[in-house]
């Protein structure tokens, strides 16, 4: 227990970075997910192909490999981002593929009649998407989106491998001094659990408020 309490500020900084990384990437991944899901149901074949290619590429590569490539391979062609930015971009792009699939599943729950009716009253594809399909589709998959956000939170720990001092790296650093991995990582694990529970609670609340009962 002392191993933890003696380093609270160090662990606290790590926790703040983890929360920041999670919030920034969730917003980014959500926007990307909506765009990619839209591409996948677009009437233009080329756009659908782009959407499919995006999901196939990023769902089928390990996040750690993507992180290492982004941080160490891009500088060889002259592109270097700060480490936090790198990690945020990669995790958002990766989780965006998963969110896109969840959102597409949501869109599929919207009855065909809804889209036909939207077209019948003269809405364009963009308008019917914005005003009719997405609002219903997103509300149908709040729970799966919440689960992906929890997975995203856990995946931020991989940023430690490329030099971002988030909660896992902070725990590593504390353990380096204290040499008590079980105490230190139990503490870090409980912090992750707490954050995941918060996301779960928010998801449940949104689900009760917004979900459409069919």
């Amino acid at each position: 227990m002392e191993a933890l309490t003696a380093h609270l500020s160090q662990l606290g900084h790590g926790l703040v970075t983890t929360v920041e990384l999670t919030v920034v990437t969730t917003v980014g991944a959500m926007l990307l997910g909506i765009v990619v899901a839209t591409l996948r149901i677009a009437p233009v074949p080329l756009l659908r192909a782009i959407g499919t290619a995006y999901v196939e590429v990023f769902q089928n590569l390990p996040l750690l490999a993507l992180l290492v490539l982004f941080v160490f391979a891009l500088p060889t062609i002259g592109i270097t981002f700060p480490l936090f930015t790198s990690a945020a971009i990669v995790i958002a792009v990766y989780e965006g593929a998963y969110l896109a699939e969840a959102i597409r599943a949501g869109i599929n729950t919207v009855g065909v009649g809804q889209a036909e009716a939207a077209r019948a009253i003269g809405l364009t594809f963009g308008q019917s998407l914005r005003h009719v399909i997405l609002p219903q589709g997103l509300r149908a998959v709040i729970q799966p989106i919440g689960n992906i956000c929890i997975a995203l939170l856990m995946n931020t720990s991989l940023a430690a491998a490329v030099g971002v001092v988030e909660l896992t790296q902070a725990a590593n650093n504390v353990n380096l001094v204290e040499a008590q991995p079980i105490a230190v990582f139990t503490g870090a694990g409980l912090a992750y659990m707490l954050l995941a529970l918060i996301i779960g609670q928010v998801t449940g609340l949104l689900e009760r408020r917004l979900a459409i009962v069919r």
Binding site: T76, I77, N173, N175, A179, P181, F185
Partner: protein
């Protein structure tokens, strides 16, 4: 100029990928095991060439008598099992690196482990579990490995959790910079600079006091940290002198400046409760230091990049915590 640089770095990353693939293949069992490692270089008798200890060193290494191995002891369990189970690394050149061709693990730490195995079992049979520096204590407490050979720095705090035999090697933190950098000549010049360190290395805790005002970035592995230095993510790389020296040898783009500024005593990590095993390992260390085996292993591995002959082995029990 920029195109030249691009093609140069591009080739390096290709080479890195090729090495990674080769290592993966070797780890998957595709690499043939030639037993004695790489062939001995002609004109270099006694040394097994570049970073490899010659077979003759193993042949001459001591084996424990039956009287040294009491019934019911850890040593007896290892002898019955037929191999020594250690925790170590595969990616530390000259200390413990897997040869992508032969699949054998070479370097000072790896060879010390093999010699301990020979001492206990009669043949250098070692099974290496690669472990992260964050799980060493837990692995030893759970008895998942018999011993840890991984440039494991002896500290009093760690000694409350594990037992350290040794020290079997001393070294220290030094500073690596890019070859064209002339502004940093020693650790004193690091104030206000961005410094790359290996995550979970003593540099993380030593740097703030040795170079006040420096900013730290940590990477998980030594190759990553080296790459980060060459890609200018930081001004310097603070790491153990032995690792820096081997890194400088493999990467012409970096150099080591100044002398080591700390003293690290490396110990063999053992289960805290097993005082008998610790005494046994310490006796073995005494033997191989006295008969010159220790010096031969040093010369074959770290000695291949450090000028001058083998240093005097550290006195057993000389580090606080050993």
């Amino acid at each position: 100029m920029s195109i030249l640089k691009m093609s140069f770095t591009g080739r390096r990353s290709l080479a890195l990928t090729a090495t990674a693939v080769a290592v993966t293949l070797a780890a998957a069992g595709c690499g043939g095991d030639s037993g004695g490692g790489a062939p001995t270089l002609p004109g270099n008798p006694g040394l097994g060439g570049d970073g490899v200890v010659a077979q003759s060193v193993y042949d001459a290494a001591p084996v424990a008598t039956d009287a040294d191995i009491p019934a019911g002891s850890t040593m007896e369990a290892i002898r019955k099992r037929g191999y020594l189970n250690i925790g170590g690394s595969l990616d530390a050149p000259l200390l413990a690196q897997q040869n992508p061709v032969s699949g054998t693990i070479e370097g000072f730490d790896a060879d010390m482990a093999k010699l301990l195995a020979k001492y206990i079992i009669g043949k250098p049979e070692v099974k290496t579990t690669t472990i992260g520096t964050q799980t060493r204590e837990a692995m030893l407490q759970a008895k998942s490995v018999d011993a840890v050979f991984q440039t494991y720095t002896i500290t009093p705090q760690r000694a409350t959790q594990v037992a350290f035999a040794g020290p079997y090697l001393t070294s220290g933190l030094a500073v690596g910079v890019r070859k064209d950098d002339t502004s940093i000549k020693s650790v004193k010049d690091l104030a206000g600079k961005t410094v790359i360190v290996g995550a979970n290395t003593p540099a993380v805790t030593a740097l703030p006091s040795a170079a006040p005002g420096s900013k730290q970035i940590a990477f998980g592995t030594d190759p990553q940290a080296l790459q980060a230095l060459l890609q200018k993510r930081g001004d310097a790389y603070v790491q153990d002198f032995t690792l820096l020296a081997s890194g400088a040898k493999a990467n012409p783009g970096m150099k080591v400046v100044g002398e080591p500024f700390t003293t690290e005593a490396y110990g063999i990590g053992l289960n805290k409760e097993d005082a008998q095993f610790k005494e046994f390992v310490n006796n073995w260390l005494k033997k191989i230091q006295a008969d010159g085996t220790w010096a031969k292993v040093w010369e074959g591995t770290l000695g291949s990049v450090v000028e001058g002959g083998a240093p005097t082995p550290p006195a057993l029990g000389s580090a606080d915590g050993s």
